[in-house]
């Protein structure tokens, strides 16, 4: 008996060592999103390369990886991050700098990787993953006959009394507030950022949100996890909530919830992946990330969630394969944040603006929140 347990112990120990020594660990945002990544390109990549891929959840920010590095025990290989964090993490020396065309495969038609992605990367450490969008949604069953259509309606508590669910940090909230006060976004939201970089414009934006939150007919519920906005809407805790379009799509199409999205002045944003410098399995991580962000890899994730792939060539794959959604009957292209119907008025979230001004805006934002 004793021998047996000893044997078992050794076995468990050996297994735990071997499983950590060759698997690649990817940290992502959890929920429907991680699910789409895992099924869309994680599992196919693992199968093709013979490298097991583990998925762990985190809630954004660089603190965890910074702490792992400080403690000398890095457990993540690849992280799914915001644009701002690729800049900050690259500056801190946390991530591997890519040699883009060498590290990432070309499109099937031979277009170089750097030309196949929509725009250039915000930092040398980033590779594009998906484009997603900050939109707002409402519960179609409870909103009444008059439906919200514009970004102004989100702030209109007379027409639509009730609380609003908004993201807990300033990002996208201030852009949205300016657009709702009548600033035309301009090409990719240029006008918005011009105004926000002046103290006057920023203060006006924060005041606008404050007014909404202090309004007795309005009020704010702050969310942090992407799964929360659809939940808040379905519980009736709020009448409208901002959120990520893929999460709303998942609730609406995947789970049949009566939610409707409004695309006016949507905040279009990119999501990136990075490889951790000195991670447990850097070499395999580089192979895995190249495979996951390949043309068919990125197209694969769009089968499960309405986020647009970063590669132009992946969009072609989806278009040719419609209806692309996993249920076999929903067309994906019209659900994409990049579809012409959805980009009539949009703001392209500016990562450099946020890397520069994030902490100052954050202070003002928190000061506003603490006075609510």
């Amino acid at each position: 008996m004793r021998k047996l347990s000893k044997l078992l112990l050794t076995l468990v120990f050996a297994l735990s060592i071997s499983s950590t020594s060759y698997a690649v660990t990817v940290a992502s945002w959890g929920g429907a999103y991680t699910e789409s990544q895992k099924l869309g390109y994680g599992d196919p990549t693992a199968k093709k390369l013979g490298i097991p891929i583990n998925w762990v959840d985190y809630s954004g920010g660089l603190s965890e990886i910074k702490a792992q590095k400080a403690a000398g025990k890095i457990t993540w290989d690849i992280i799914d991050v915001f644009a701002m964090d690729t800049i900050n993490g690259c500056d801190e020396g946390l991530f591997v700098k890519f040699d883009f065309d060498k590290d990432f495969p070309a499109a099937p038609d031979g277009t170089k990787a750097s030309k196949d992605f929509f725009t250039s990367m915000p930092s040398d450490c980033a590779v594009g993953n998906i484009l997603y969008s900050w939109t707002y949604a409402y519960n179609d069953k409870t909103i009444g006959s008059n439906k919200p259509k514009t970004i102004k309606d989100f702030f209109d508590t007379k027409k639509f009394p009730g609380k609003r669910g908004i993201y807990k940090s300033a990002m996208h909230n201030v852009e949205m507030a300016l657009a709702a006060s009548g600033t035309k976004p301009g090409k990719g939201g240029k006008n918005i950022y011009k105004k926000l970089s002046k103290a006057k414009g920023l203060d006006a934006a924060i005041k606008k949100v404050e007014a909404l939150c202090k309004d007795p007919n309005g009020g704010c519920v702050f969310w942090s996890a992407g799964a929360k906005p659809p939940e808040l809407l379905m519980q009736g805790e709020v009448v409208m909530a901002t959120g990520w379009n893929g999460r709303f799509f998942n609730a609406e199409v995947g789970e049949g919830a009566p939610l409707k999205q409004v695309w006016d002045a949507q905040g279009l944003d990119y999501q990136y992946m990075v490889v951790v410098k000195g991670g447990p399995n850097e070499a395999d991580a580089m192979k895995a990330i190249a495979q996951m962000t390949s043309t068919e890899g990125l197209a694969g994730s769009a089968k499960y969630i309405a986020y647009a792939p970063w590669r132009k060539s992946s969009l072609k794959v989806i278009e040719a394969g419609e209806p692309w959604y996993k249920d076999g009957k929903t067309a994906m292209m019209t659900q994409m944040p990049t579809h012409p119907n959805n980009t009539k008025s949009y703001i392209l979230i500016d990562p450099l603006f946020w890397a520069d001004n994030g902490s100052e805006i954050g202070e003002k934002w928190e000061a506003m929140k603490s006075g609510l």
Partner: protein, 417 residues
């Protein structure tokens, strides 16, 4: 008697005194060995992180070492107008070295904490500085971006010259040291921390008060009921204590939300109209309710253990001497429970002041405490030195409360059982 008293010797011929001391020393050493693991444990997991935090909060050598020449050149600069060519040249030389070592990104992060806007202009400078010509660096740097010709940015660099600074502590109370070395408050729309300190203390105080008001009768009941009932009651008190904190907080969310159980019930009995459901979550009320329930056992248990030791004959004696029920309670029973009240209050207050997860989940904006702000700087701005400074301020606050308590009531008067 002569001064040279005969020394008492042991059988080995060693003086008894020496021998005794030796044994005593050996015993002391053994005793020390017994506590040594605990001592080392405390040193490693408790004392050293605190020292590390203290160091982290004042350490600013990264910037000092990154720009050595610049800071030497800046010594002569009075900070009134833009610095001279000499400073710009020194900055350029330092910066080139940083690019070689790939450290310019770290510098930009640090400087961005001091003044927002450094990130992009340092990135731009890195790109442009490759094609700089020799000489006249002032003009060339200023041509990269308009912010480089703003004196505020150069003042921000100079402020980071000392290797150690206490500026993060000032920031923790919404203040900073201006150009003339005076302490001034930051602009009104950026003052957060003082408000949060006051709110944290206020919430901790009220949570302690509510806990006391609820726990006192419960503990009294527990201590006086016959064993078979009190055991059951005790389990009721302890059961939530054994449940995970997250589970308890989440169940409060289900109870308190606008479409939640409590509101549904109130609507059902007709106390509240359907469209006027009470807002009990994502605000201060939620924080009060959830924290009071979660911390209640910490008040009940010390009170119970003290009340258990109070002999019922004391109260009877008071009554037989002619005291009304209230007088006997107030004059006899209550004073005897003070050690328990002290222990419970101190426990609850100290736990409440550093509470994080419950306010984060049910507190909303108006129920946020200072610990949520520390987490925010740990997680999102990555300004760990500022987070360390605030953590230490919180620790100092707790120690101060402990000290005041010791002066007022005396720490020996605390009883946990």
């Amino acid at each position: 008697m002569s001064s040279e008293t005969q020394q008492i010797l042991t059988t080995d011929g060693i003086p008894l005194e020496v021998s005794l001391k030796k044994v005593e020393r050996r015993n002391k050493f053994k005793a020390f060995l017994l506590v040594a693991p605990l001592l080392f444990f405390l040193l490693i997991v408790y004392i050293s992180p605190i020292i590390g935090m203290l160091f982290n909060s004042v350490d600013d050598r990264m910037v000092t070492n990154a720009l050595p020449k610049t800071f030497v050149a800046m010594e002569k600069w009075d900070g009134k107008e833009l610095p001279s060519e000499e400073v710009f040249e020194a900055f350029y030389i330092d910066f080139q070295k940083l690019i070689e070592e790939e450290k310019e990104g770290k510098l930009s992060t640090q400087l961005n904490y001091e003044k927002n806007g450094f990130k992009s202009i340092i990135k731009k400078l890195r790109r442009k500085s490759k094609s700089f010509e020799e000489g006249n660096y002032k003009e060339q740097i200023m041509a990269v971006h308009e912010r480089w010709s703003d004196v505020e940015y150069w003042r921000a660099i100079k402020r980071r010259a000392p290797s150690y600074s206490y500026s993060k502590y000032l920031k923790g109370v919404d203040m900073y040291q201006n150009q003339e070395g005076k302490f001034v408050q930051v602009e009104e729309d950026r003052r957060i921390y003082k408000k949060l300190w006051v709110r944290t203390l206020k919430i901790a105080f009220y949570v302690t008060l509510f806990c006391f008001l609820m726990a006192y009768p419960i503990a009294h009941l527990l201590a006086t009921l016959p064993m078979k009932y009190s055991n059951l009651l005790m389990i009721c008190v302890l059961l939530p204590f054994w449940t995970s904190l997250l589970v308890r907080t989440a169940s409060w969310m289900i109870l308190l939300q606008q479409q939640g159980v409590v509101n549904d019930f109130l609507v059902w009995i007709g106390l509240v109209a359907d469209d006027e459901r009470l807002v009990m979550m994502y605000n201060e009320t939620g924080t009060y309710i959830a924290m009071t329930q979660i911390l209640l056992p910490f008040m009940v248990l010390p009170l119970y253990s003290v009340m258990k030791t109070i002999s019922p004959s004391l109260v009877r004696a008071g009554k037989s001497l002619g005291g009304t029920p209230f007088t006997t309670f107030w004059k006899v029973y209550f004073p005897l429970t003070i050690p328990g009240i002290g222990a419970g209050s101190l426990l609850v207050f100290i736990l409440a002041i550093g509470y994080y997860i419950t306010p984060e989940l049910v507190g909303g904006a108006s129920g946020t405490l200072i610990s949520n702000m520390i987490a925010y700087h740990m997680k999102y701005t990555l300004d760990w030195s500022f987070a360390s400074a605030m953590g230490l301020m919180l620790l100092a606050g707790v120690l101060a409360i402990y000290w005041v308590y010791n002066k007022l009531v005396g720490i020996d008067n605390i009883k946990l059982g």
